[in-house]
Subunit: 147 residues, 2 copies
DNA sequence: CTCACTGCAAATCCTTTGCAGCTGC
DNA sequence: GCAGCTGCAAAGGATTTGCAGTGAG
């Protein structure tokens, strides 16, 4: 692992060289299409659907097919560069923030925001079997801004 | 499998009359197909996928098409009789337990269990805007039973 | 008889697979 | 020249839509 911070420092992630390094660090070959997708995902610090990524990427000068967008996003998730966030049955988003955190969905605006990890009283859960260990905690807080 | 009496409390939800009343209470016309689907959802296991419901229902004597299963489950959710639980991007389940609770997914066995509502430090969330109120909290705890 | 509602076949949309082309050795 | 990897067209599967059938008034 390099000492160049690859998750918090946007300066070098916005250069192609930085992105190439990021891909390399995660054992992903930096091809043209993958760089274009990475550029899209890590430039806008956002939650994007596969389809949004497709549109965004193809605004640029590198054509990427729908299938490649899906396969690449999936690959990035497997390699720990992205996190897949299932908001509801209609929406699966990809989150460039892989640190431990949760999400707020405003059901009126559709906006999604990050929230800090919540301290759950998890160890006290009697529903957890003794041999079971927690792998991840997926939490979506649905809020309304209607009065 | 025998289904004459349910081991615990013989509520009237297990009779067709009870189911019809339940549907009626939620402004849903108790048609043959809807009753068959309700019977399946409220008598059998708690968490079922749309496809499982299709299979279960068609073991009985009322044929119901795939589309009707989907439409009916969606209707039940809209009318507050069922809750839709998105486990991950591959799995959407319908839960006949509509009380406030969360879910544990054992990633090794695929088993899903209910857990009691967790006391979240939600009021303290600074990420919540003043005018926003919490609609629901969707929490899936992913656990592994590997040692 | 008419109208509104119901249920389903077909269409649609999202995602994955299988393979042709390319790259480096 | 060959082996393995990439990217995409086409296939596959889940969900929704539009309309024919049905029953109540």
């Amino acid at each position: 692992m390099k000492d160049g911070d690859d998750s918090g420092n946007p300066t070098d992630e916005n250069t192609d060289a930085g992105l190439a390094r990021l891909l390399h660090d995660h054992q992903v070959n930096p091809t043209r299409q993958r760089l274009a997708i990475a550029r899209c995902m890590f430039k806008h610090r956002q939650h994007l659907s596969a389809d949004s990524v497709l549109v965004q990427v193809n605004l640029g000068d590198t054509y990427v097919s729908k299938a490649t967008v899906y396969n690449t996003l999936k690959l990035f998730v497997e390699q720990g560069m992205l996190r897949e966030v299932v908001i509801d049955s209609q929406r699966t988003l990809f989150d460039s923030n892989i640190s431990d955190h949760h999400h707020i969905l405003n059901v009126d605006t559709g906006e999604i925001r990050d929230i800090d990890p919540i301290q759950l009283a998890v160890p006290k859960l009697r529903e957890l079997a003794p041999e079971e260990s927690i792998t991840s905690v997926d939490l979506v807080l649905r809020v309304s801004s209607k009065t």
